[in-house]
């Protein structure tokens, strides 16, 4: 045990404190390399081999014909190429190579990261190990997947050739309809939500209670039920014949309104009470104080949660499937459903997922950016007054 000296008088022998860090390891970059190589081998191998099979001239193999991918099936060759690429020896090498590299990265990384002498090296070691875990996970999943019946899966979910008659115009129209449904629903919802929020925030119970009932009803029942119920309520109850598309937009707006009301309420309540007092002390009416002082601040705070609601609504538009739309009104999900029932092939669902992602990913990206900007405390944007 080293003795820590408290006096620093001349001639006092001072012992250096013990080095508790242990020897530093030189292998951090190697570990990071192992992780990257492992993951690269698995993902890169998969991609390159699939690409190679997809673009080179090939014919149906014996194996494909044996499992039933005969030439009378639409897109049989494409599916066969996917399956053969998975079964290729190069793929085997990439998978097992990736597993070996990944395991090595995990072992070295977690074994040595505590002994690294700089933060940078320690992070390299840990990152290498994490990438190794990822490589092993992906490789194992692929190994198991190709030992099953990848031909059946590929035939039903990855046979993009069957999409061709339904692409690209009907698909784009479906995407457009999805966006219209979500956008109109969100806009209507914001208007309804604002009105509801003002009612919910009233000090008078007679104004509050009905708004609460509305909000609780729409938040408490399934959206799919609301769609069906409103359609038939309008049709039979009021003998109003609106297109399913119109009814869907109305119901989405009504439903989103309930959620937006809660978002607005929380946003308004998050503004310090002193803001309202200051505005009222200047002689502003309650309405003026809301409009000039409270609301502009609240809006900035509710933009991110409202945009999140919008992303959720984009996906929920799939529920209009219960109403049965005209072909020109088909949104993404119904486009897929009718394609599947025409062709008995589920690749339409795969394409639909990609279609939703093409809309939602930019929206999610935008939300994150706006959130970051608001949080960075831009002057006059957040409540950085005090």
């Amino acid at each position: 045990m080293a003795v820590l000296e408290t006096e620093t008088g001349a001639g006092v022998h001072r012992e250096a404190p013990p080095d508790t860090r242990g020897r530093s390891s030189p292998v951090s970059a190697t570990v990071l390399g192992l992780g990257i190589a492992g993951l690269g081998l698995v993902l890169g191998g998969l991609l390159l081999i699939q690409l190679n099979y997809a673009v080179s001239d090939r014919v149906l193999t014996q194996h494909c014909i044996e499992v039933g991918l005969t030439s009378d099936i639409t897109g049989a060759l494409g599916v066969c190429n996917i399956v053969e690429a998975l079964r290729a020896q190069a793929m085997t090498a990439a998978l097992y190579g990736g597993i070996v590299l990944g395991v090595a990265g995990i072992a070295f990384g977690f074994g040595t990261y505590r002994r690294m002498d700089t933060v940078r090296r320690r992070e390299q070691a840990v990152t290498g190990a994490l990438l190794g875990i990822l490589a092993v996970q992906v490789a194992v999943v692929l190994v198991v997947f190709r030992s099953g019946r990848p031909d059946l899966f590929a035939k039903h979910f990855l046979n993009f050739t069957v999409l061709s008659p339904y692409f690209i115009e009907p698909f784009l129209i479906a995407m457009k309809n999805t966006i219209i449904l979500a956008f109109v629903g969100e806009l209507g919802g914001i208007v309804i939500g604002l009105i509801l929020a003002m009612l919910v925030l009233s000090k008078r119970r007679a104004a509050r209670a009905p708004a609460r009932v509305y909000v609780n009803f729409f938040r408490g029942t399934p959206l799919i039920w609301q769609l069906a119920a409103f359609y038939f309520l309008l049709l039979f109850g009021f003998e109003v014949r609106l297109s399913a598309f119109t009814v869907a937009m109305i119901v989405f707006a009504l439903n989103t309104g309930a959620y937006a009301a809660e978002v607005f309420r929380a946003g308004i309540q998050s503004i310090e009470g002193g803001q309202m007092e200051a505005a009222r002390s200047l002689g502003m009416t309650y309405g003026q104080a809301m409009r000039f002082a409270i609301f502009p601040q609240a809006v900035r705070r509710v933009i991110p949660p409202l945009m999140n609601e919008f992303v959720i609504l984009i996906k929920d538009t799939a529920l209009v499937i219960v109403l049965g739309l005209l072909i020109s009104e088909h949104e993404l999900f119904q486009w897929a459903r009718s394609g599947v029932s025409d062709t008995f092939n589920a690749t339409f669902y795969t394409a639909t997922a990609l279609g939703y992602l093409a809309i939602t990913l930019p929206a999610i990206y935008l939300v994150n950016r706006v959130e970051k900007r608001l949080r960075s405390g831009l002057v006059g944007i957040t409540g950085a007054g005090h």
Partner: protein
């Protein structure tokens, strides 16, 4: 909070209200412009019973300025806009008139160089001076100050007190809740000492300060000094 307070103020009075926290000082002040509604009792302003529910409180409040401990500037508006907002929307002045009057008041508190700054870019003392200008721009006949220096760093207290001293000198009628005993003693024309919702002692500030009559005030003064 308040348990029976009977006070009367004349024009040009500077009434300083002191007392321990929770004694009802702020509540009393907020009753003066009805930000707090008394459950019982009445408040008169220039002969009008403003506790009468038929009173147009928004109109009454245009004559009573208030400055808060937490400044309460509108953070999404520049200093200038903070001042012109109510001039345009409450007093219905047109843009140039409002601007002119706002600049006048901002100059009065020494903030005419920072008119385009947002509150977040100003120090506490500067924010509080803008808040005072915002209240003064309405040309109020009574100003309420609610512990306006309590949230400030010690070295910024002076610049705000200076403005208030000048205001008092110009004859503004003021009600000031404060912990600044020096200010209370020197600037106040009347002092109110409150405790547990009651006015325990009132009188001439220096007299009260140097010769407190009640034990309660003696104890309080001993603690704050």
């Amino acid at each position: 909070m308040l348990r029976g307070v009977d006070l009367r103020m004349a024009q040009r009075d500077v009434m300083v209200i002191i007392g321990p926290s929770g004694s009802g000082k702020s509540t009393l002040l907020r009753c003066a412009n009805m930000l707090a509604e008394p459950t019982l009792g009445k408040v008169w302003f220039e002969g009008r019973d403003i506790t009468d529910i038929r009173t147009n409180l928004d109109e009454v409040r245009t004559h009573i300025g208030m400055v808060f401990q937490a400044f309460n500037l509108f953070p999404h508006m520049t200093a200038l806009r903070n001042v012109t907002l109510a001039l345009e929307n409450v007093l219905k002045l047109d843009g140039s008139q409002a601007r002119e009057r706002a600049m006048e008041q901002l100059a009065r508190v020494g903030m005419d160089q920072k008119t385009d700054s947002y509150p977040g870019q100003l120090s506490g003392g500067q924010q509080q001076r803008v808040a005072i200008a915002r209240a003064l721009a309405m040309k109020p006949r009574l100003m309420l100050f609610d512990e306006v220096t309590s949230a400030l760093d010690p070295e910024l207290v002076g610049e705000v007190l200076e403005v208030m001293i000048r205001l008092a000198g110009e004859g503004m009628t003021m009600m000031v809740v404060t912990h600044e005993m020096g200010f209370a003693r020197e600037v106040g024309t009347r002092m109110i000492f409150m405790d547990e919702g009651l006015v325990v002692e009132q009188g001439e500030p220096r007299e009260m300060y140097y010769h407190p009559q009640t034990d309660r005030l003696r104890q309080f003064l001993a603690k704050v000094l």
